[in-house]
Amino acid sequence: MDTMQLSFYDVLRMVIAFVLIVSLVFINAIIMGYMERKMAAKIQRRWGPMEVGFQGWLQLILDGVKIIAKQLIVPKDADRTLFRMAPLLAFTPVVLPFLVLPFSKSLFGRDINLGLIFIIAVSSINVLSIFVAGWASNNKYSMFGSIRSVSQNIAYEIPILLSLLSVVLVTHTYSMQGIVAAQGSIWFCLVQPVACIIYLISATAETNRAPFDLPEAESELTAGYHTEYSGFGFSLFVIAEYANMFTVCAVATVLFFGGWHGPFSGEYLGALWFLLKVFLLMLIMVWVRWTYPRVRFDQLMNLAWKYLIPFSLVNLLLTALIVKCI
């Protein structure tokens, strides 16, 4: 994109992309919700949703319809405006990164030459919504959850950035399509294994998934930052969480696992490979969640500041040296 002048075609493309993406976010939440429950059931040697539709596949749709019709409660002492705003604030920024994700060679919303930076910038807004939710609820448990979330996100943003930068040093581009194109021969998880591992750990923490799900630690803070949210507000938080998972896994796919590359990946068929890889990564996150206990908050911070950030810094320096020498 050399010029910022948009043609009618570009605008139309973005509008269509936006509509598709919003529906993708909802569909993703339904699929992931179902897969998570089924996978948890599998791990725990039970059936999971079974009776509602074949193998329970209608369960999540019915849950969704039910939750829309629930009464919306705003607690008496809550900040009404912020309380209502927070779920929307959580939902909006998670849609935007989808615009620049390269689903296949020609299937993408828009290829910005600073795509990676855009994703990181936009997805950081999410933490603000959690903070607003916790603050507006006027509930001590919510407040704990949101404060934990803020410090956790700030801590884990840094290793994410640093590990992504070491890939950028190799590819010399921030464009998502450019990074995918550079992985034609070899995936970057082999070129940058340290960055890959650091990114996956930090991404789990960034999306507040177990074992780093401290903002909504059930046994400590009941439901954490969304303790006071009922009905649709609550479901928006859940949808945003799944969309966030999709985003970080998509970024991991693009940067480390070859994006849409794969056998028979033509102009559009690459999207299948892309989605397959993303969902595999997400299932790994689900797998981890149902296996491990939760870490303590100071341990979480120690992991970020004492291990992940120094290691990613060293990794970045080494990468820079090698790239410079070659």
Partner: protein, 192 residues
């Protein structure tokens, strides 16, 4: 005790006054949407993580691998009352607990249902004795109850039956569409 009675009366009045308006809101004016909504509500009853006494263990057992309430969509035990549809009163309610229980009920958003699980919650059970000074004899004195599951404690299967009964109450049908009737139960631990 006076205060508790006043509070209970308030909850009862409120639930009667609001039930028509809040059990689905404006959607109730369209029969078809109402029916669809009822089916959805019946198939997705999220209980509150709330155990009082012995029955709580059987409630947990109902959610575990052998019985698995999740099959009927009653899987998601939410720790916060705001996100629940179903309050399972699983055990003895004492005089000290009564205000907290009523607050929990009040915190739940409409539409909401209550299952009184076990004899203690139904009538005070074995603790309905002459010198009773602390046990509330029946949780329906405090909050409106939809389904009673007797037993001391009831088996997990009885709780599942209670949930199916509640589904019948909500949707008018024992296995509301799209639920299928469960096939033969699988024997998990065969007798050696």
């Amino acid at each position: 005790m006076k205060e508790i009675e006043r509070y209970a009366q308030f909850l009862k009045d409120e639930s009667e006054a609001d039930s028509t308006e809040l059990q689905g809101g404006a959607m109730n004016s369209f029969p078809l949407t109402e029916q669809v909504l009822k089916v959805c509500q019946a198939n997705s009853l999220w209980p509150l993580t709330f155990g009082l006494a012995c029955c709580a263990i059987e409630m947990m057992a109902a959610g575990m691998a052998r019985i698995d309430m999740a099959r009927y969509g009653a899987e998601v035990f939410r720790p916060s009352a705001r996100q629940c549809d179903l309050l399972i009163v699983s055990g003895t309610v004492t005089k000290k607990m009564a205000p907290a229980l009523m607050t929990l009920y009040e915190q739940m958003p409409y539409p909401k249902w209550v299952i009184a699980m076990g004899n203690c919650a139904i009538s005070g059970g074995p603790f309905k004795v002459e010198d009773n000074y602390n046990v509330i004899e029946g949780v329906d004195r405090l909050i409106p109850v939809d389904v009673y599951v007797p037993g001391c404690p009831p088996r997990p299967e009885a709780l599942i039956e209670g949930i199916l009964k509640l589904q019948e109450k909500i949707a008018g049908k024992r296995h509301p569409w799209p639920q299928r009737k469960m096939k033969d139960a699988v024997k998990v631990h065969p007798i050696p």
